[in-house]
């Protein structure tokens, strides 16, 4: 009654033909090219790999054939049932769309005590009534925010300098908490502040309401103070002192910092990073300046060419990797976002690099005067007289109005990089995003022109650079990247992975 055994060939489809599934490809350098499928799985191979696959000259049974099949670049008769699996992975990658708008930015005041060169919108004035959000507007904005179907709502309190309007913060937080409780939504709150005016009482309030702090730190004193002038020229001292104070009350993990790269920063990426280490931060976001608001007007003073930024970024990333190797855990946030897309089955909640674009779909901005914008950058454009992305006003419009407005529909038409010229066949489509607001602002066209787009150039170069690091065979770099993605330290990864301890 013994059963018989058959050789492997008996399980191979007799028809050597195969069909292609959707994928895109790109030359990484003069030796290698990368092929990426619809859900971000990739194969890196020598130049000519894509040609072999596409001309259907791959040999059935070869290792490369198996790899392309397993990663769903091709399908053949011996396994054809797994399109559902691809669909599941597609859903997982795009689960950031679930629940629609999750991030809600409240501009509680436009007033600020700083006069930063690159600032988009702030006003230096003592006139509270003109630039603070009034109670009626706050109440309407909270109602609109909570109408979002999302189960998890993030409320970001922003300005200007929001702590100058602490009464508005208390009002908005109180209303939002009550409504979240009634609607059984999870509410996370973060305040974006320069901390210059923070007091113990304010910090105790933030602690009581589990409000996290996001502040600005542009580097060591010389750079920070040059970028972020105050009348007393003491922004660095105030910021670092108050970061320490905030941490004492809120806890280290509740205080984050962001940096903006100006032309002053360009030659000092290592000093900037070292400053973050000195301040015991474990993440740093090497961010280019945004081409909005006052930043555009002062471009000659603050701006630079994208190539200069890319050099800054790559030098910085190398320095950060070295610090990690030496035992200091420090993640670069932009790389972390991209690596999550490249190395995991998941997407990210980062609204500035998504397709469909985050604008409106994943983020809404409620200005102090009740106007609702698709993104923070859209609000900055409005400050310069361009209302292209103003979706409505909390006093006059319903949620339905906002999302059926011509402004939103125009945005939605350009929100998917899958359907934008040059993006539609770009290998990095799955990792990148669409930014109609950026395109409109820099190129006066929401569809945008990729060959002359700094957004495109930055992402192409950074993603290529990350691929080179990933495929370099350096195990430690890979472990550092995986530590970033999982929000743990390198020592934790070393404990999780093969090692003799």
């Amino acid at each position: 009654m013994a059963r018989s055994f058959y050789p492997a060939e008996a399980y191979r489809d007799s028809d050597p033909r195969y069909q292609l599934l959707p994928f895109r490809f790109l030359r990484l350098d003069d030796k290698q090219e990368v092929l990426v499928n619809e859900v971000g799985e990739f194969v890196v191979g020598p130049i000519g790999t894509a040609r072999t696959l596409i001309t259907k000259t791959l040999t059935s049974g070869s290792d490369l054939y198996s790899t392309f099949k397993a990663r769903q670049f091709l399908t053949d008769g011996s396994s054809s049932q797994l399109i559902d699996l691809l669909a599941t992975k597609y859903r997982t990658k795009h689960s950031f769309i679930d629940g629609f708008t999750k991030l809600h930015i409240f501009v509680v005041t436009l007033r600020c005590d700083h006069s930063c060169q690159y600032c988009q919108v702030s006003r230096q004035t003592a006139d509270k009534s003109a630039f603070d959000m009034n109670p009626a507007t706050a109440a309407k904005a909270v109602d609109l925010m909570m109408e979002s179907p999302a189960k998890e709502i993030t409320l970001e309190l922003q300005g200007g300098e929001p702590l100058l309007a602490f009464d508005v913060i208390r009002l908005v937080v109180g209303l939002a908490e009550a409504k979240a409780k009634a609607l059984k939504k999870d509410l996370r709150i973060v305040v974006t502040t320069n901390l210059a005016n923070v007091t113990n009482d304010i910090l105790l309030y933030l602690k009581e309401h589990h409000i996290r702090v996001s502040t600005s730190l542009d580097g060591p004193a010389a750079i920070h103070n040059a970028n972020r002038p105050r009348p007393e020229n003491n922004s660095y001292e105030l910021t670092t002192e108050n970061i320490a104070k905030a941490r004492r009350i809120l806890g280290n993990d509740q205080v984050a910092a962001l940096m903006t790269t100006t032309h002053v920063s360009l030659e000092h990426v290592e000093d900037i990073i070292d400053e973050y280490v000195r301040q015991e931060f474990h993440s740093i976001f090497l961010r280019p300046i945004s081409p909005y608001g006052f930043a555009v007007r002062t471009k000659r003073k603050t701006g630079y060419e994208i190539d200069a930024f890319l050099k800054f970024y790559k030098t910085g990333l190398a320095h950060i990797l070295n610090l990690n190797r030496q035992g200091y855990d420090l993640a670069e946030v932009y790389a972390k976002i991209l690596l999550t897309k490249i190395l995991t089955p998941y997407g990210t909640g980062y609204v500035d690099l998504q397709s469909p674009a985050g604008a409106g779909i994943n983020v809404l901005v409620y200005n102090y005067d009740g106007d609702v914008y698709a993104t923070d950058e859209a609000r900055m454009l409005a400050e310069m007289g361009d209302f292209t992305f103003r979706l409505g006003n909390v006093h006059r419009n319903s949620r339905k109005d906002l999302f059926t407005s011509d402004e939103f529909l125009n945005l939605a038409a350009t929100a998917c990089n899958q359907s934008l010229t040059a993006c539609s066949d770009c290998a990095f489509q799955a990792f990148c995003g669409s930014d109609p607001v950026y395109n409109h602002s820099t190129q006066h066209d929401m569809f945008g022109h990729r060959p002359s787009s700094d957004f495109c150039k930055r992402n192409m170069e950074v993603i290529k650079h990350l691929f080179q690091l990933i495929t370099s065979g350096d195990k430690e770099v890979m472990r550092i990247f995986l530590a970033w993605i999982q929000n743990v330290g390198l020592a934790d990864i070393n404990k999780m992975a093969p090692s003799c301890v």
Partner: protein, 384 residues
């Protein structure tokens, strides 16, 4: 350790009997579920009344009650649950003291793996096995810590499998139940939905995936289309919230693409709670196919390390089973588990001098015939 023995039946029963062993005579009203094992010739006939069956430890038992004269019975202890076959075969089904008890669902299987340690039987034993297992569950007194449902392929019992899982859930809600299955049946959503609807409080499936290449997987399990069914089945299980462990047996056919398989598991079966990378057992079909299967474990350490690196550094829970520490790369020791069931676990002569023996999982008892050429005693290294 023995789990089976054979004796001579007294011909007073024609269907299998399941009962709990007692080596002590019991009062008449406690004999109903019991198989008495003892010197039947030394006791008066009325002292032998009312037992479910008798196993004679001495001479032949020829009384009225169903009985077997067992040749070998030292391994049978009071409290063990056994099945007596009319042919005289006595199989231990359950040992209260062990954490390695199984519920053997059926001998049938719809795959025919090259290295199957429990080759399938082409007879329909399903009705008999369902009643045997329900009776077994009824006879277990104290909640076991864990139970493994295995076979054969348990899902070939169809919906009758659910009756068994229900019985376990109702009687032993705190017992962890691990079911070994090829996962193919779960590609049918309605079947998977029914399993999920049982809401067993602590249940996990262990399902093998042997390659990221469907041709290789189908070849290993000797069933065309099995890969698609298994992967879809695992997806369905996850969709219904059921917990899944992936099992990979390491041999010459699965090793070459092991790292790719690790990537595949991470990308496609990310939700798996555990990935077990298991050494080959030299039993069942394996000896017959050893020419295609054998690779000295010492020769695949770098493939194994790559696969473990890919899974573990991405946060997946990985274990290595059935490998000896002297063969395993030092960096992989922390993934090694003592996984071999007590009754089939041995060490070799070379192991006597080994200072790491207490940490080592040892061998399957059938490894004495075939094992790595690198087996050697280790000297314990001081931790630096």
């Amino acid at each position: 350790m023995r789990l089976t023995t054979s004796g001579i039946s007294n011909g007073r029963f024609n269907r299998p009997i399941v009962g709990r062993i007692s080596r002590e005579p019991l009062p008449l009203d406690s004999r109903r579920d019991v198989v008495f094992l003892g010197d039947t010739s030394a006791l008066a006939p009325e002292s032998l009344l009312g037992y479910r069956a008798l196993i004679s430890s001495t001479g032949r038992y020829s009384g009225e009650s169903p009985g077997i004269s067992a040749v070998n019975h030292e391994h049978l202890l009071t409290g063990d649950i056994v099945a007596l076959d009319p042919s005289g075969f006595v199989r231990t089904l359950y040992r209260p003291a062990s954490d390695h008890n199984i519920v053997f669902a059926t001998g049938r299987c719809n795959s025919n793996c090259l290295m199957c340690s429990q080759p399938p039987k082409d007879v329909d034993d399903t009705d008999a096995m369902v009643s045997r297992n329900l009776e077994l569950i009824r006879l277990i007194d104290n909640p076991p810590k864990r139970l493994v449902i295995t076979g054969g392929e348990p899902t070939l019992l169809g919906e009758r499998l659910f009756t068994i899982i229900e019985a376990l859930r109702d009687k032993f809600p705190t017992t962890y139940v691990h079911m070994l299955s090829n996962g193919r049946t779960f590609a049918w959503p309605s079947y998977t939905a029914k399993l999920a609807a049982l809401r067993h409080p602590d249940f996990m499936l262990g399902i093998p995936v042997y390659s990221d290449d469907p041709v290789i997987h189908d070849y290993v399990v000797q069933a065309k289309g099995a890969f698609d069914q298994t992967v879809l089945g695992i997806q369905q299980l996850a969709r219904f919230g059921l917990r899944v462990e992936i099992r990979v047996v390491l041999h010459a056919v699965t090793i070459p693409r092991l790292a790719y398989l690790a990537e595949y598991i991470y990308r496609n079966l990310t939700f798996a709670e555990h990935v077990a990378l298991m050494g080959l057992e030299n039993i069942g079909y394996a000896p017959r196919n050893m020419k295609s299967l054998w690779i000295d474990p010492a020769d695949y350490q770098s493939e194994l390390e790559d696969a473990v690196e890919i899974l573990s550094s991405r946060g997946m829970n990985v274990s290595i089973y059935n490998h000896q520490l002297c063969v395993l790369r030092r960096s992989l020791w922390k993934f090694s588990r003592k996984s071999i069931s007590d009754w089939k676990n041995i060490y070799l002569k070379a192991c006597d001098a080994c200072q790491e023996k207490d940490r080592c999982g040892g061998f399957f008892q059938w490894a004495d015939k075939l094992h790595s050429a690198q087996i050697r005693p280790l000297v314990r290294q001081a931790l630096s």
